[in-house]
Structures are given as structure tokens and as C-alpha cells.
């Protein structure tokens, strides 16, 4: 189990790394766009590219955020309950999350499929939109795996950080 957790951690860390590289690219792109615009040569489609990059930046950070318990939750009540009750409630909420994000991911793939079949493209550069949709769906599937890891951590008998 420990190696499974380690493996998952590696994958989502890598995903967050991609987000970091993409965000760095966005910083360079917007700065270049603004500076070049002063001289009358804006970067064509900068807005579209930024939006699509933003999708990957956030989508690929979702699993790591959840791993580090970064999503806002009200836990002061939960923490005041006995460990057994807390573990049960936590297991249930993790299961709800897993089902929910697999479901959203599948529906997102369907939206992406729709874009792909209809050849829907961005307004100016006419870039295909589906790869970003698939990317975000991938982030949500990874989130489900992270939520599963939460359960593993509860019953794995070891404190894992």
C-alpha cells in the first residue's frame, strides 16, 4: 500500500510540475503580448491561449491540492468527534467525492468528444478545444484516485504524510 501511495504522489507531483511550467509560459506570453502591443504587434490569439493554458494549470493542480488537504472544508466539528465516528464519516465523504468526480470526468470527456466530432475550434486561431477538456477530465480522475488514497491512509494502519 505504501508503494501505491508513493506512486500516486509521484504522478500528481509531476502533474503539478506541468502546471508550473505552463503558468510560467503564461507569464512570459502575457508580458510579451503587452510589451509587443505597445509597438503595434500583439501576439495573435494570446487571450485564447491563456484561457486554454489556465485550464491545464488548474486541472493538473486539482489532485495535489486535494492530497495536501488544500480544498476548503469545515472540519472543526468533525475534529471534535471520536476517532471511529470521524473515520466512518470521512470514508463516506471520500466515497461520495470519488463517485462524483469520476462522474463529472466522464461527462467532461463527452463534452470534449462533442467538440472533437463537431470540429469546434477557438475563435481567432482556430485551435481545437478538445485536448484541454480531456486534460481537465484527467485531472478530475486523478482527484478521485487521491480521494481513494485518503481512505487507504485511514485504514492502512500507518500515518502517512
Amino acid at each position: 500500500m505504501k508503494s501505491f501511495l508513493k506512486g500516486v504522489h509521484k504522478v500528481i507531483l509531476f502533474m503539478q510540475g506541468i502546471s508550473g511550467v505552463v503558468l510560467t509560459f503564461v507569464i512570459v506570453l502575457t508580458t510579451a503580448d503587452v510589451l509587443l502591443r505597445i509597438f503595434g504587434h500583439p501576439v495573435p490569439g494570446a487571450v485564447e491561449i491563456t484561457a486554454m493554458c489556465g485550464g491545464i494549470v488548474i486541472g493538473f493542480t486539482v489532485p495535489m491540492t486535494s492530497w495536501m488537504k488544500g480544498h476548503i472544508a469545515v472540519d472543526f466539528l468533525l475534529n471534535s468527534w471520536p476517532t471511529r465516528v470521524r473515520n466512518t464519516v470521512e470514508t463516506i465523504t471520500r466515497c461520495v467525492g470519488i463517485v462524483m468526480f469520476i462522474f463529472i470526468g466522464v461527462n467532461m470527456i463527452r463534452i470534449g468528444r462533442g467538440f472533437q466530432i463537431a470540429n469546434e475550434v477557438t475563435g481567432t486561431l482556430e485551435l481545437p478545444m478538445y485536448p484541454v477538456v480531456y486534460g481537465i477530465a484527467g485531472g478530475l480522475f486523478a482527484l478521485s484516485v487521491v480521494l481513494f488514497c485518503d481512505i487507504v491512509k485511514i485504514y492502512g494502519g500507518e500515518v502517512h504524510e
Binding site: 508550473g20 503580448d33 472544508a73 465523504t93 467532461m108
Partner: protein, 434 residues
Amino acid sequence: MNEVTVGIIALVVLLALFFTGLELPFCMILVGFCGFTYLVDFAAASHMVASDVYEVFASYAYTVFPLFIFMGQIAFVSGIAGKLYDSAYKFFGHIPGGLAVATVGGATAFKALCGSAVATAATFSNLAIPQMNRYGYSRTLGTGLVAIVGTLGCLMPPTIFLIIYGLITEQSIGALFLAGIFPGLGIAVLWILTIFIWAKITPGLAPAGGRSTWKERFASLPEVAVVLGVFLLMIVGLLKGFFTPTEAGGIGVAAVLVMVIVGRQLTFKSYVTAMGEGLRTACMLLMLIAGSAVLGHFITVTNIPMYISEWVMELPVHKNIILVVIFFVYLIGGSFIDDLAFMILATPVFYPAVQKMGVDPIWFGIMIAITVMIGIVIPPVASNVFVVHKLTNTPMSQVYKGVMPFLAGIAVFGAILFVFPEIATWLPKYLMGK
């Protein structure tokens, strides 16, 4: 069951769900999805959840968040806060209460780059508390002050809080930033007054520190000048329409990066750390916004916002009473759940009514920012107080005791702004004609 009943039941269920420890955005998505399924149908709801998450994540306007937050993180890891605090300390350290005044000054300046209330509280717990200990300051005053200075982050530009408010209500983010400046400075001044008065009536509370020479003082200024320069670049660029908020974020990060790389204050390792922190905070925010988009679409089909705004117009009471009630709801909501989360949740519901009453949306935004500043530090969920309590090993009750006098400052200013909205609205009107 009619739509409104469904909506009210769903909101009660939502509140109950919050306390199970399920992440807030997940709760919002779940309730929004189930409610939409009930009122519309399963296929529509399935599409809606996925397309809302996709649209929020891959939105141009929301890319502003990772950029601004990353900028704050860079400022945080590169030690800019320390330099700003030192500078303020050199000017005010020698007067009684001066260290506390320096904390207010340093935090207000740091705020120009870092948008997070908790990060500001954490930074100044580490910076200011040891100094205050050295000169025999009261723990109550010191910890109370660092717990509250970060809340200025809601009001002083560039603030994430007002950016989100602007995006939700389609108000000019530049105008909101301008509107936040005077109230932000006003509250800072009230805090300084609080420190002086408190020090006066309680001898030994805040003794004088060491005096610096004028040479030392001026030597500390260039750093401050650079920070203010980046701040001005962003604000002016936004106001003059040179760039969009997202571009301002990009330019701001680039400028701060150049500054800290030239000053050799940034290693690759700290760049990666800052990036990771920034990405996760932005992700947390956008997940919240995605959750509220799903919930919001459900609330739209319950027609509750429409009924509220019609009902408010027919209420036989003065609109000021209605406004006070609305602010009170924000206060209670913000004290229970995260301040931003509650703003994102409640604003789409109340905003149509506020619009119908003819209230200035810019002023309303500033008022709820002030309300939420109070919500951040009052129980039961007071993340700032908690951080200070942890970092300084001070009992929660003592931190709260220290927070109270400063809280009075915010409340007093809120009342003043309620009576004189011009304090907020004058600057954007004067500079932008809006």
C-alpha cells in the same frame, strides 16, 4: 413541491453537509447537481456540472488568480516582507507603540503584493512578534495586531476578494481597487490611533524600541520604492486600460520576478516552492468558484434571486435596514465558513436585489469586504487567529482579547462608510468618471 421550497430545503441540506467535513466546493457541486436533477432532469444536470467545471477552469478572466497569488508567494519566499518591516521599524521603532505602528505600515505595504490574509498574518507573526518580545510589548497587543493586519488584504488593492466580486457582478476591477484605497488607509489609521490610545491608558504596554539614524532610515527606502513601483505599475496599467486584470497579474509577476532575481533573493528551489503554493491556492479558489457556478445554476432555476429582489422592493422598510440585514448575513456566513467562499455563495443571490434598490455596486462591494474582514477573525472559524496562536504559542483567548480593540476600529469605519459612501466612491469617480 414548488421551486422555492426545493431551493430552501437544498440550502439547509447544504449547510448540514458543510459540517460533515466534505470539502465546501464538493458540497456545492453535489447539492447543485441533485437540485438541478430534481427541477430539470438528470441529463441536463450531468452536462451542467461538467461544463461549469470546464468553463471556470479554462476561463481567461480567472487566470488572474494563479498569477496574482503566485506574485504574493514570490514576495513571501523572497523575504520582501522583512525588508518592508525593517524600513517601517527604522522610522517608528523609537516611539512608544512604534513597533506596532511599524507592523501596520509594513503589512499595508506588503499587502500591495501579497493578497492572502493568512499568509500576511503568518509572515508578521514571525517578523514582528520576536521584536515586540525583545522590547517587552504586551503579548495581547502584539498577537492581536498580527492576527488582524492581514484582513486588510480584503480591501487594499490588488485584492483577490474585490477581483472575484468584480467578476461576479461585472463591475470594473480597476474602479473597485481605487474604491478600496481610502477605506483601507482609513482603517490602518484607526488601528494606529487604537495603538496610541491603548498604550496611553496602559503604561508599559508598548515601550519604545531602539532609535535609528536618519541615514539608516533613508538607506532602507529603495526596497519600499520598488514595491510601490510594481504596485503603481499594476494599478495605473489597469486604470488606464493598458491591460486587463489577467495581464496585470502577468506583468506584476514578471516585475516582481525581475526585482527579486536582480536582488539575488530568489533561488530555483524557492521559485518551485512559491509556484506550488500559488498553484494550490489558486486551485482551491477556482474549485470554490466552480462549485458555486454549479450551485448558482441550480439556485437560478429555483427563481429565488428573482423573488428576493421582487420581495425586497415591496418591503415597507427603508432600504438601509435591508442593507444592514444583508451585511449581517455576510457577517454570520463569513464567520462560519471561509470569507471568500461565502462571498462567492451569497453575492449572486443578493446582488439582483441590491441592484434593484439602486445601491452603488462599487460601494456595496467595499462594504461587504469590510464586513468580511470582521468575519475572518471572529469565531467559530478564524483562520488568522488560529495561525497566530499556533506560530506564537499564545492561547487563543489571549489573541482574541488583542484582536477586539482593532475590530472596533473596523466596525467604526464600516459605520462611517455606511453614512459617507463617498469615502469609497469618490476616487474612482474622480479618476475614471464612473
